[in-house]
Assembly symmetry: C2
Homo-oligomer: 197 residues x 2
């Protein structure tokens, strides 16, 4: 139908979350009609992102430096460590402005259904970081899903020997909800009212 | 918050139709988490599209060759010319498989509100192509909107001296609807039942 290059572009765009085959076609046309303002900058931004952005070897965040900007920020409280499932959750907490410590991105939750065990997550690194005497509290900011809560239980047990206080986000996170979809107010309330795990 | 490269990528993605700021963030994260399968191929596809795809100087279609594949296809009926507003409409008709002639993409409709007159559209080229003795019928496949129908009226008058039959898509196109959003069945019916303008 259309040129092979356009077909390929549409197929790739359709694999982005939130875009189906039809909206991918619209997006491809918009890109082609706005070459200089959109197509070329986007091609360049993707290439630069692919080249520069890496996973922080300390916390699992995505940034152009390793360790990432959050890990290197001297204004962060070194006694607080906040465990999140994904980078999207880290971004959501940063947007809420409710947390001033550092993060640890697990890379998902334990899941019997998906066959994800502790060795598939960034748990060894977490235990190591929590054993640092500077860290006094680990906040398990995981989703209020079955897998999220199972993972929080598991982590609380794994972290007990490290002698840190483990806390969880307060009730306020809607059951079945994911952090990235919450409004900042709910996230702030939940962060302030966190309680022992 | 996130790295400057990621922020820039999110801002650009959010300008695509169908993606808002939140879904653009999700899309950026998906891209970063699927570098080899998605981010790098998409960067490459965009760069290739920017480099290779051009506007067909004959019909206004987008393709990697000029004239485009449809204009060059020897199996197309040279007596039929189908006028559409945008390339998306051309794609929609091609998907329906209801048309075997060639196209002419206007690049929009006449619009008093948006200040778009005949000189902003690909109308001179259309009159020239319609004057070719090989062309016997020009199908005005414009949207059933006020602007689309005004443009069809105008084109029927402009094409009268060329001695071609001008037709329009049959009733069946929902009033206020745009071609790109119709299902193939409706498009096929409308194409088959076309009537003199």
């Amino acid at each position: 139908m259309a040129a092979a290059e356009i077909e390929r572009l549409i197929r790739l765009l359709a694999r982005l979350p939130g875009l189906g085959p039809r909206s991918a076609r619209r997006a491809a046309l918009t890109l082609l009609q706005r070459r200089e303002q959109l197509l070329e900058p986007l091609a360049q931004a993707l290439a630069e992102t692919a080249e520069k952005v890496t996973v922080c070897s300390r916390c699992g965040n995505l940034d152009s430096s390793d360790p990432c900007g959050v890990c290197l920020d001297p204004k962060r409280d070194p006694s607080l460590l906040c465990v999140v499932e994904e980078v999207a959750d880290l971004w959501a907490l940063e947007r809420s402005g409710a947390f001033i410590g550092r993060y640890h991105v697990l890379g998902g939750t334990l899941s019997a259904l998906d066959g994800r065990g502790p060795e598939q997550l960034r748990i060894a690194g977490l235990v190591e970081r929590a054993s640092d005497p500077a860290v006094t509290e680990v906040i398990l900011a995981l989703g209020a899903t079955v897998d999220g809560q199972t993972t929080a239980h598991y982590l609380a047990e794994r972290l007990a020997p490290a002698g840190v206080t483990t806390t969880r986000l307060a009730h306020g996170v809607p059951v079945g909800g994911e952090l990235d979809y919450l409004d900042d107010g709910t996230l702030t309330t939940a962060m302030k009212a966190r309680r022992p795990a």
